[in-house]
Symmetry: C2
Subunit: 344 residues, 2 copies
C-alpha cells in the first residue's frame, strides 16, 4: 500500500494523516485534498500529508486506500467526483458519523471493482481544522467498521488495520444498528446540549446567567460547539432515530420533573438519585458492555467479596460508602419526619 | 481573626482550608469539624485544617469566622447545633448552592449578636472529599455573596475578603435572584445530565451504548456525578425554580425536535445551527454579561473593524470564517435543490 489518499483534511482527516506518518509503513505516500484551500494548506503545514492535490480525482490516482473524511452530505459529492478515477481494487472508507446513507451511496455511486467499507472513528475535540490535528486523537477510542455484506474480507482487514494502527479499538457493526446506537449515545447528547444552551441564551437573564456559568454548564453544553456542517448532516441523515430519542428524552425529563415536583418522601428521592449516581460511577469507572452492574444495587448489595469481584475495589468501596451514607441519611430523614420535619 | 472554624471538611471545606493555609494571615488557626470521621481525618492529613474537633460546638469556640460547608439541608442542623456556642461578633457564612432557605434558617436559628452572610462559591469537580481538595479550586470562579439587608458592612467585608483571598470573583446578589439564576445555569444542567444518563442506562441497548459512549456523552452527563446528598438538597430547596426550568427545557427540546422532523429547507436548518454555534463560540471565548453579542450576527455581520472591536480578533475571524462557510453551503444547497436534490 504505497499511497493513501485523504479527501477532507480537517481535524479528523489530518489526524489520520499524522497518525499514519507516525506509525505507517515506510515509503507510504499520503496525498491530501480539501475543497477548502486553508484546510489543505494547514494539513501540509503540520505534515499530515506529503502533498496536496486540489482536484480529488487526481488525489485518488494510484491510491490503494482512499479515506473520505468530509461532512456526511459531502461524502455523496466526493463519491460522485472520484468514482471514475479510483484504482481497480482500491479500498475506500469514510469517517462519517452516520452509516446508513453512506453505505447506500457507496453502493449506488462507486464502481464494482473497488471495495467500500464504512468507518466511524468515535473521537473528536472542540477545536476543528488541521491545525488542531493530533496523531493520538484515536488512541483508545472506538472505531466502528460497517462493511456491506458482499465486501471481500481483505478490504475489511485494510480498514481494521488502519483503525488499529492509529491506536483505536475496531468495533464491527451493522450500519443500521450503528445509526440507532449513535442516535442515543452521541446525537441526542448533541441535541440536548444545543437545546440547553439555546434556552439559557434566549433568556432575558442571559447577561447574568452567562456570568454565573461554571464548568458544569460548560461541560453539559460542550457539544453545542460541534462543527455546524457536521451537526447539520448528522441531523439530516439520522433524523428519524434522533427525533425518536428526543421524544424519549422529553419523557424522561418529565418523569424527573414529576419526581421533584411531587416529593412526599425525601428519602425516596435521595435513594433514587443515589442509585443513578452509583450506576454513573460504575460507568465512568469502566463498567461497560456486558459487565454492567445490575439495577438494584442499593437494594441488594452483595457481600463484599462478591462485589469486589464484580465491580473492582475502588467502585465497591464507593458503593459501600454510598450505601452507608444512604442508610444514615434515611435514618436521619425518618427521624426528622417523625419529629415533624424541619419546616422546609 | 486568629481562628477560623470550618464545619464540613469535604471537597469545598477542605479546599477553603488549604487556600487559607496558603494565603491566610500568619498565626491563623483553622479548626475543622465533620460528622463523617473520614472527612475530618482526610482534612487533617492534607493539612487543610490545623486541628479537628469532633463536636462542632467546640470547633466554633473562639472563632471569628465560621464557614459552614455541608450539604444544604445539613446547614439547618449545624446552625441549630452551633447557635449557643458562637462568639459574640462572629461572622458566619456557608457554601450552599441555594440561598433562600439558608438565609431564612440563619435568621430563625442564629443569635442576634453574630452576623450571617450567605456564600456560594461556584466551583467544584467530579471528585469529592478532602483528599481531592485544591487550594486553587476557587481561582477565577464566581463566589456569590448574599447578605441579609440588616447585616453590618464589615461582616460582608469579611466574606468578601475570604472569597478574594482564595482567588475567587465575589458577586453580590439577592438570595432569591441567586436561586432563580442558578436553577437555570447550574441545577437544570444537573437535571438534564441525570435524565440523559438515566435514559441511556435504562435502554435495552445499554451494553452496546456504554461501549460506544465517547467524551461527548461523558461531558454532557458529567453532572450526574454530583454528590447525591448535594443534588438531593438542591432539588429540595430550589424545587419550584428547577421544575419551572425543566418545563421550559422540554419545550425547547420540542422546538428542536420539530425543527429536525419537519426540515423542508436544509439551508435554514444549517443557518439556525450555525447561529447557535456562533453564539456558543462567543460565550466560550468569554463574551459574557452585558458584552453579549447580538442575536442576528449571521444576518448582519458588521464591518471587520467594528467586529474586531466588539468581539476580539479570534472570534471575529471565526465569525467571518463561519459566515463564509455558511454562504458557500447555502449556495451549494440551493444548487442542489435546483438540480433536484441528492435523493437523500
Amino acid at each position: 500500500m504505497p499511497r493513501v489518499a485523504i479527501i477532507g483534511t480537517g481535524l479528523i482527516g489530518a489526524s489520520i494523516g499524522l497518525g499514519l506518518q507516525a506509525n505507517g509503513a515506510p515509503g507510504l505516500e499520503i496525498v491530501g485534498s480539501d475543497r477548502f484551500r486553508d484546510n489543505a494548506r494547514g494539513a501540509e503545514q503540520v505534515h499530515a500529508v506529503d502533498r496536496v492535490e486540489a482536484d480529488p480525482r487526481k488525489a485518488v490516482q494510484g491510491a490503494g486506500l482512499v479515506i473520505i473524511a468530509v461532512p456526511i452530505l459531502a461524502i455523496h459529492e466526493v463519491m460522485e467526483e472520484i468514482a471514475g478515477s479510483l484504482e481497480p481494487g482500491a479500498v475506500v472508507t469514510d469517517t462519517g458519523s452516520t452509516k446508513g446513507d453512506v453505505l447506500r451511496w457507496a453502493c449506488e455511486l462507486l464502481p464494482s471493482n473497488v471495495a467500500f467499507v464504512g468507518g466511524h472513528p468515535m473521537a473528536g475535540k472542540t477545536e476543528t481544522g488541521p491545525r488542531a490535528a493530533d496523531a493520538k486523537l484515536f488512541e483508545g477510542a472506538r472505531w466502528v467498521i460497517a462493511a456491506p455484506r458482499n465486501v471481500p474480507g481483505d478490504a475489511v482487514e485494510v480498514v481494521n488495520g488502519l483503525a488499529k494502527g492509529l491506536g483505536a479499538l475496531p468495533q464491527f457493526m451493522d450500519a443500521m444498528e450503528h445509526d440507532a446506537y449513535v442516535a442515543a449515545i452521541s446525537h441526542l447528547p448533541m441535541a440536548a446540549a444545543t437545546a440547553l444552551f439555546r434556552l439559557a441564551r434566549s433568556s432575558e437573564a442571559w447577561p447574568e446567567l452567562s456570568v454565573l456559568a461554571s464548568t458544569g454548564f460548560k461541560d453539559t453544553t460542550r457539544l453545542t460547539a460541534t462543527e455546524p456542517a457536521m451537526a447539520h448532516d448528522i441531523l439530516i441523515t439520522n433524523r428519524e432515530q434522533i427525533v425518536g430519542w428526543l421524544r424519549r428524552y422529553r419523557e424522561e425529563l418529565r418523569k424527573l420533573e414529576d419526581e421533584i415536583a411531587n416529593v412526599t418522601d425525601e428519602a425516596a428521592l435521595f435513594r433514587s438519585i443515589s442509585e443513578t449516581n452509583l450506576q454513573y460511577t460504575g460507568f465512568r469507572e469502566g463498567v461497560v458492555g456486558r459487565q454492567e452492574i445490575h439495577d438494584n444495587m442499593l437494594d441488594e448489595i452483595p457481600e463484599a467479596g462478591m462485589m469486589d469481584l464484580i465491580l473492582g475495589g475502588a467502585l465497591a468501596e464507593r458503593a459501600r460508602e454510598l450505601q452507608k451514607r444512604s442508610e444514615e441519611r434515611l435514618a436521619e430523614s425518618e427521624r426528622e419526619m417523625r419529629s415533624g420535619g424541619r419546616g422546609a
